[in-house]
């Protein structure tokens, strides 16, 4: 079932949680709502579920207006950040709950409930824990019980609020892959909220980046990563270096180097931001070509397959970061305090001040 949000707005007192949000989630897709905390992602998810009412706008399920529909009639599965398992019920009863509370005439017989619950517990690989209570499970196990419980009622839509937020890094990684596989099996339209860009990129078919109650950009993980639409998206996805500078007749000076920007040939003395990803910087011991930023290595951080250089720019003393592969690092034989020359392989410039003057 597809989900559509039209012109959704929501305020909490003076705080604007959502500001005229429009979004379409096609049937069967796994979509990530990505953004910093307090950006409105969870509010959007809760409005879709019906746990929150929008001040303006509407929610459509399968093209039908569902804004006024009762929560329990929406047929959504919701997985809460802190699981919200029923603490006094066994794992089995937690999963069976949605089936047991159905009106008598549509409630499946006990035998069928039993089979369905065990089927789901097998799916989440927890069938051996059916008699345990939530307090006896680990975080990752609780999260999988919460998922099984949400899936038990065969929801048309699955909504997950920071599903892996409270788990440690290793379990989180494992569960992420597992969620992706599960979605490929069950194929229910799913929306999950996360503030972890890596998680969104790895799991989702589409990523919707939300900040301050607005959608900044949406697209496939590749699209948003390769062509960030706004400075915010650029800064939010991946590690970047930010340069403040002035655009003038197709040129911009960053850290002592000149960028050639033919697309801004008409700009006259306009302030702008330039973004360069840390791993898209070439490091050389000697200047090679006109675009080289002179810097001094201040600190080295060794990662599994790369080395992160923290550098001070000679021109203005600002801090920069560059990440180069291990092999390249060994080849160059770089040391702390060494003077190097940096050239961005790719960069993106966003004018910030007044629009370019047309002549």
């Amino acid at each position: 079932m597809s989900i559509e949000a039209r012109g959704l707005s929501k305020r909490f007192g003076g705080f604007v949680a959502l500001d005229d949000v429009n979004l379409v989630v096609p049937s069967g897709e796994l979509v990530a709502l990505l953004g910093p905390s307090g950006g409105g992602k969870t509010t959007l998810l809760r409005i879709i579920a019906g746990l929150e009412t929008p001040d303006a706008g509407s929610i459509l399920f399968h093209g039908e207006d569902a804004t006024e529909r009762l929560v329990r009639d929406r047929q959504v599965g919701f997985v809460f950040q802190h699981y919200a398992l029923f603490r006094h019920m066994s794992v089995f009863e937690n999963v069976a709950f949605g089936l047991r509370v159905r009106p008598r005439r549509v409630r499946p017989p006990e035998q069928e409930i039993r089979e369905r619950v065990m089927e789901l517990l097998t799916l989440v690989q927890l069938d051996f824990l059916a008699d345990r209570f939530p307090s006896q499970l680990s975080g990752g196990q609780r999260q999988r019980v919460a998922l099984a419980r949400a899936l038990a009622v065969r929801p048309k839509v699955l909504l997950l609020d920071e599903p892996f937020g409270a788990l440690d890094a290793r379990v989180r990684k494992e569960l992420r892959r597992w969620l992706r596989r599960l979605h490929d099996e069950v194929h229910v339209t799913s929306v999950f909220v996360t503030h972890d860009q890596e998680e969104a990129m790895e799991v989702a078919d589409r990523v919707v980046i939300i900040n301050e109650g607005r959608i900044e950009q949406e697209g496939t993980p590749q699209q948003v990563y390769e062509a960030p639409a706004t400075p915010f998206v650029y800064g939010f996805l991946g590690d970047v270096n930010l340069f403040h500078g002035r655009l003038h007749r197709g040129r911009m000076s960053i850290g002592g180097a000149e960028l050639e920007l033919p697309e801004f040939a008409e700009a006259v003395d306009q302030s702008a931001l330039a973004y360069v990803r840390t791993h898209e910087i070439e490091v050389a011991p000697a200047p090679n070509g006109h675009l080289a930023i002179e810097a001094v290595i201040r600190h080295l951080r060794f990662h599994a397959s790369s080395v992160l250089l923290e550098l001070d720019r000679v021109a203005d003393g600002q801090v920069m970061e560059a990440e180069i592969p291990r092999a390249r690092f060994d080849e160059l034989g770089l040391v702390k305090g060494q003077r190097v020359y940096l050239s961005p392989r790719s960069f993106r410039v966003f004018p910030t001040g007044k629009p370019p003057r047309t002549e």
Binding site: A49, G50, L51, V71, R72, D73, R74, V76, G77, F78, F80, H82, A84, L85, F86, R87, H88, M89, F97, G98, V101, R102, R132, F133, S135, Q136, L137, S138, G139, R149, A150, A152, V153
Partner: protein, 288 residues
């Protein structure tokens, strides 16, 4: 707390430790245990026959009956109200929420005597509603309804006060989960909310009952002290005492004391149960 490893480095010198313990125990004995023993000792001083006679006396029996009646009305009323108020305050944000919280505490803040006077002022012969009630031949003050009303008022906060922190701590998430899964409001309450608060609820009811049985001040004002009619147990004890029937007074008092002890036992049993709400086989992995 008793499992904390004790070492000389973090502990006080032995002398200080023993002095403090002795002080605490002495205080406990002087103010709690000695009076308790004294009640029973005084009650039985003239023998078991006198003791039993004091309890079998018609006025005493009628006082017991009235006390139980007042509790039987006040406790269920406050149970329902306390649940409703705690549910509203803990699970929803609404205008007037903090006002409601303050109002619930009113019976704690107001002296019981004043509570009683308010009822006289409202329902008494010279009170606001007095003429209206008199015209319809309804007696509230100096009668059973007044005693029930006063008891209900004084015991008003117990259940709600016990439940609000518990329900606030549990938050609305489990209820939200239940509703999303298709449960109706009643199903959510029956299957999710109630099981989560049952021990707290029972605890509140026990405290409420104890107070309803032992209430003196407010009931004293509205009772009129009509023997065999509007005397509750505490009032009956006072009358006996004032008339120098010490043995009888203490005999009836021992009955109340026994009730208090039963309440305390039930309370500590509950606290014990509450600490392990589930049949835990393994220690919980995360603190709740």
């Amino acid at each position: 707390m008793s499992d904390l490893p004790r070492s000389a480095a973090v502990g006080e010198p032995r002398l200080v430790r023993w002095t403090l313990i002795a002080l605490a125990l002495g205080f406990l004995a002087l103010f709690l245990i000695v009076p308790l023993v004294a009640v029973f000792a005084e009650a039985l001083r003239k023998g078991v026959a006198v003791y039993l006679a004091a309890l079998r006396e018609p006025d005493a029996v009628s006082a017991v009956r009235l006390t139980l009646l007042a509790a039987a009305v006040a406790v269920p009323l406050n149970l329902v109200f306390g649940l409703a108020a705690a549910w509203a305050i803990a699970k929803f944000q609404f205008r007037g929420r903090s006002l409601l919280l303050t109002l619930i505490d009113l019976p704690f803040a107001v002296s019981p005597v004043i509570a009683g006077m308010i009822f006289i002022l409202l329902f008494g012969a010279q009170g606001w509603l007095g003429p209206w009630l008199q015209a319809r031949d309804i007696q509230v003050v100096f009668a059973v309804p007044g005693i029930v009303l006063a008891t209900t008022f004084v015991t008003f906060p117990f259940v709600a006060r016990e439940l609000i922190p518990l329900m606030v701590e549990q938050g609305p998430e489990e209820e939200e989960a239940a509703i999303v899964l298709g449960a109706t409001g009643w199903q959510t309450f029956r299957r999710v909310t109630l099981p989560n608060i049952r021990w707290g609820l029972l605890y509140g009811v026990i405290l409420c009952t104890a107070r309803a049985i032992g209430e003196f001040g407010a009931v004293s004002v509205v009772s009129g002290h009509i023997r065999g009619e509007t005397n509750t147990l505490p009032l009956h004890i006072e009358i006996l005492y004032n008339e120098y029937h010490f043995a009888a007074a203490f005999a009836v008092a021992s009955l109340l004391t026994l009730l208090a002890l039963v309440t305390l036992a039930a309370k500590s049993l509950l606290e014990h149960r509450r600490r392990e709400p589930m049949p835990a086989v393994e220690p919980a992995i995360e603190a709740a």
